[in-house]
Symmetry: C2
């Protein structure tokens, strides 16, 4: 076991060390699973690597590994599941940033893929990352075949028209509309929540848990998914572009409904604290095994970028 | 069994009746697998149905069913595999037609998705159809779990950066370049060939065949994939836009290398006849069970649109 692997499976070490170990492990697995930039078509493979490697907080892989620790999943299975969900996330960012969607030029402090390469390449990068995500689950995840098929189903539902892509469609249709908090949450449950929930569910599915435990974890994941978005909206309102590594104040400028525009800043902050308490509460029966999941909820609440 | 089902499994009936039965069956399965346009997000689901239903020759489903007849696969398993490969094909057309790619306004005689809806919706339609294709294989294909996982792998490889999407990238990079026939075939083996080959492979994988038979079928499929593209290039040069249902002469106008621009029209026609003979030859040991596959090779050679 490498030093990083030891830190990852150690539940007594600091949160910062654990995060760093999972991030390091995920980066190295992503690097291994992505085609090398020397393989034809080289420019496409180079752009896929640019889109995925060397950036991001890896929130979904962290949630996947933390849930997997609870279900006794192997680190190798969790690598494949974590990389699959991260590739779906990365593809969605590449497509969302394109001129026909959010038309953004900056992501994780770097030019977006369509700026660095071109629009057609960005389109193909997103398409190819999606295929690769499903390939990882079907072929490179060392769990029984029925589990691999179940992982593919879960990720396909979470990323498709009744999950993330559907949430994007609702988001586009809602520009300029005065949404209520229920409609706003419906959108975010799909757009951001579905994939975050899926990360937790897949981590759990790589090991073994009873139905009741899956239900409680799922409640945790749904709550953290919303929390993530509320905090995102608060940060988008408060932070500078430099701190965020992406264009700040963009949603307000684009007349998109946010928690802040819907609830006001003070009530949005309060909603974040409520969701955090609910997430922590849903973990109460797991004891110390859920430590990393609790720490992740704290992290999502208190993050500054 | 419905009348259409009987015609489909009948190997003594006419080719036209069999084609019509498979097309009918596929249309009805696609309709069932696609989310209803009444389910939110309704506009996205409406656009997904517009992109997939009511058009197309269904060449890939026909190949999938014909190969499945040879391996003893169930019609229900073949429906799922055929619809999955057709959804990948449909998504690729939607994305290829977008302004940042081929910028085409006409497809199957109708306005393309980005014209009928908008660019952002077209992007999300393609993304969502891809997820749905993998969901069908993982969840709605009545074969053992290890076969479902293998189908997901095959389709993911065929559609990703080392298959169809990779072929698109090579195609984009080759605009204006004088390609040799080997480079041209390398591009088409990826862009069109990979998915056609996958359709045959998936149909066979839904049943049982020995390794040698899989190898011969695979050779057939690779050859038919190239044949399909050579004929496409000849038709693009010869036919009118009205006959094709899509813009004719587009590749030449866009300065894209084709078999006709590389070989000349006479030699391209000759190459088509050679590939057809090779495809038929690779089926020689299968006897009458391969009748539909032979007829499909004839159809691909002689089609007028």
């Amino acid at each position: 076991m490498s030093e990083a692997d030891t830190a990852m499976s150690d539940t007594t070490g600091s949160f910062a060390d654990w995060v760093s170990a999972v991030q390091h492990r995920t980066e190295s697995a992503l690097d291994r699973f992505l085609p090398q930039a020397t393989i034809a078509p080289a420019r496409l493979h180079d752009a896929m690597r640019y889109a995925v490697l060397g950036g991001g907080k890896r929130v979904r892989p962290l949630l996947c590994h933390a849930a997997g620790a609870l279900s006794g999943a192997s680190a190798e299975a969790l690598d494949a599941a974590a990389c699959a969900v991260e590739m779906i996330h990365a593809y969605s960012l590449v497509h969302d940033d394109m001129p026909c969607m959010d038309d953004d030029v900056l992501r994780r402090g770097k030019p977006t893929v369509h700026v660095q390469y071109d629009d057609a390449t960005a389109l193909l990068v997103g398409d190819s990352l999606q295929s690769l995500a499903f390939l990882l689950l079907a072929e490179h995840c060392p769990v029984p075949a029925d589990t691999r098929a179940a992982l593919v189903s879960q990720l396909a539902i979470a990323s498709g028209s009744r999950g993330m892509a559907g949430g994007q469609a609702i988001d586009l249709a809602s520009v300029g509309l005065p949404l209520g908090v229920e409609e706003l949450e419906f959108m975010h449950i799909h757009k951001t929540g579905a994939l975050i929930r899926c990360a937790v569910r897949m981590g759990a599915a790589c090991g073994h848990l009873d139905v009741d435990a899956h239900g409680r974890l799922d409640h945790y994941a749904g709550t953290v998914g919303l929390l993530f978005q509320v905090v995102d909206d608060v940060l988008d309102c408060e932070a500078s572009t430099e701190e965020l590594g992406k264009t700040a104040g963009k949603d307000a400028a684009a007349n998109k409904p946010t928690y802040v525009s819907t609830l006001g800043l003070a009530r949005a902050r309060e909603r974040a604290r409520e969701l955090h308490a609910e997430a922590i509460d849903s973990l109460s029966l797991f004891g110390d095994a859920a430590r990393r999941l609790r720490e992740l909820a704290d992290f999502v609440l208190t993050r500054k970028h």
